[in-house]
């Protein structure tokens, strides 16, 4: 059995390791170096500038706007998605067909979702204004994506629309693993359905909810594709939908400020990492074990 073991291991792992080192590890390592330089991509030299890129971030109005907008996405999207998904997964017990339908948007590319929702929000021929017209609420009609106060909320709606179904399926699977006797016992004891949900269901599926918070939190720090395709500018109007990824992309591939863009990448990485750590800590609690 030992014969040829190392030859096999080297043969099997050389290609994937080389691929991973060249296209994943090396860019990540280089990004941390470039973030401390003024590299513009054309000249061969990248001059070290210390922390200058990072201090510049704090006075860059676009980056600050992006930080605020990503912060708002972070406050709204995970909570709204999880509340809706919890409600629907509890309510669709026994009626699977709803889950099958709800799940579908999860399979679409964000780019496709963005194009679809851009059409929905179109002022004159869009679905939303057409709907408001049809139900007699034509005074509510808006040019949705052109209003600084509304545009980001429109992006959030598309985000939540596409995500809810996935978490319905995730939570439903977790809920189905809860033994029926537990529910029956609680019902016999006269517990209300609200109390059963709070005291039994939620604690027992808490791990799934925690996973959902982390995934949705990370998605809220992104938002690039939806904003880049849907919004005017992109990032507008008046920077009201600017997100960090958009700033990074623009600085790198429009302005050629590769050092500065890398600093944004490092900032995004640190924010993502601290968010994940924070959420893990904040939601840590006594594991509920079924004996």
């Amino acid at each position: 059995m030992r014969h040829g073991k190392y030859r096999f291991l080297v043969g099997a792992m050389a290609a994937p390791l080389a691929l991973y080192a060249i296209f994943v590890i090396s860019p990540y390592v280089q990004a941390f170096y470039l973030a401390f330089t003024d590299w513009n991509g054309i000249s061969n030299e990248a001059n070290p500038v210390g922390l200058a890129n990072f201090t510049k971030l704090w006075s860059d109005p676009l980056f600050l706007a992006a930080l605020r907008n990503n912060g708002l996405l972070l406050l709204v999207v995970p909570l709204a998605t999880i509340v809706l998904a919890l409600f629907f997964s509890a309510a669709t017990r026994g009626t699977r067909v709803y889950r099958v339908v709800y799940f579908f948007p999860q399979l679409l590319s964000v780019a496709i979702i963005a194009v679809l929702w851009q059409f929905v929000y179109t002022p004159n021929s869009g679905l939303l204004n057409g709907f408001l017209n049809a139900v007699g609420l034509s005074s509510w009609k808006q040019s949705w994506l052109a209003e600084p106060d509304l545009a980001l909320w429109c992006v959030m709606a598309a985000m939540i629309w596409s995500a809810v179904g996935f978490y319905v399926v995730l939570f439903s699977a977790a809920m189905e693993s809860i033994p029926v006797e537990l529910m029956e016992a609680a019902l016999i004891d006269g517990a209300s359905s609200g109390a059963i949900f709070r005291r039994i269901t939620l604690p027992l599926i808490f791990e799934s909810v925690q996973v959902a918070f982390i995934y949705l939190g990370i998605a809220a720090l992104d938002g690039f594709a939806l904003v880049q395709i849907m919004t005017v500018g992109p990032g507008g109007p008046d920077n009201s939908t600017e997100v960090m990824g958009l700033g990074l992309w623009r600085n790198a591939f429009t302005y050629g400020k590769f050092g500065y863009a890398s600093a944004m990448g490092v900032a995004m990485f640190l924010l993502t990492l601290s968010l994940a750590a924070l959420l893990l800590r904040a939601t840590r609690r006594e594991q509920v074990e079924l004996a």
């Binding site: 040829g4 990004a31 629907f88 395709i229 994940a276």
Partner: protein
């Protein structure tokens, strides 16, 4: 009854934009502008043919099939080999390699974006099929290895040992014994990767600047963004529906496996 009312409303919220896009793809531009709710007077099939050929959706679909298909094969082959070696063999550096790979899942792709562009550029692979395929596979590797590592660990060892006693080689045991045993895991992670790769947007946007090589999501987004200049609404709707259709058909055929595959990935 109240419960079903609420559930039906959300079902309508989910399906209405999609149904509306399908209906609009058969209308004339004038009908689209006239009323978003009306049905087409007669179905405009030429919207579809215009989207397919003039708007290049057909070409984008072809590019996507090539890139995603080959990237998926490469990811599954390299990922399962890597996971198997790490899960079933003791050797110095095993843990280090595993954690380095898995750590790749913690980093946002945005962080790598700038240097990655230059790595691909320096290799002369910008805007090529093989460049995109290699990058797709490299970024799909961490999750694939992470998932299959756990799967190979959970398989019994007796069958492989018997095969070794019968004189099978290491590669023979992997391809003839272990890989067939790992089929359920391969299917789950394969579905997960197929959808992930099919839906890529950021990587092709940066690494694939040649319009002749655009993938579907990228090409459609480019059409929608530039739509202000030469507007062909009905054609765009048709393009959008063509892009959604393969996913919808796949979902109708394999909905159970797809939902199981995607959610299994999340709980791990």
């Amino acid at each position: 009854m109240k419960k079903h009312f609420v559930l039906t409303i959300w079902a309508a919220v989910v399906t209405l934009p999609l149904v509306w896009a399908v209906v609009s793809s058969f209308k004339t531009d004038a009908e689209i502008f006239d009323s978003p709710w009306s049905l087409p007077a007669s179905p405009q099939w030429n919207n579809w043919s215009r989207a397919w050929s003039q708007a290049s959706i057909g070409k984008y679909l072809f590019n996507t099939v090539i890139v995603v298909g080959l990237a998926l094969v490469l990811t599954m082959l390299l990922g399962s080999l890597m996971a198997y070696c790490l899960a079933r063999y003791e050797f110095p550096g095993n843990r280090t390699i595993y954690y380095t790979l898995v750590a790749g899942m913690l980093f946002p792709v945005f962080l790598a974006l700038v240097p990655l562009f230059f790595v691909v550029d320096n290799l002369g692979m910008l805007g090529t099929y093989h460049g995109l395929i290699l990058v797709y596979a490299a970024y799909a590797l961490p999750f694939t290895v992470f998932f299959l590592h756990a799967f190979f660990r959970s398989l019994p060892t007796a069958v492989a040992e018997a095969a070794f006693l019968d004189g099978a080689s290491h590669a023979g045991v992997f391809f003839r014994v272990m890989l067939p045993m790992a089929r359920p895991g391969l299917v789950s992670v394969g579905i997960f990767n197929l959808l992930g790769l099919w839906n890529q947007y950021l990587l092709p946007l940066v690494l694939n600047p040649d319009p002749d090589r655009y993938v579907l999501a990228q090409g459609l987004a480019a059409l929608a963004v530039s739509q202000g200049y030469r507007s062909d609404w009905s054609g765009l709707f048709a393009g959008l529906v063509i892009a959604i259709l393969p996913v919808l058909i796949g979902y109708v055929l394999f909905q159970r496996q797809i939902r199981a595959g995607l959610t299994a990935g999340a709980v791990k």
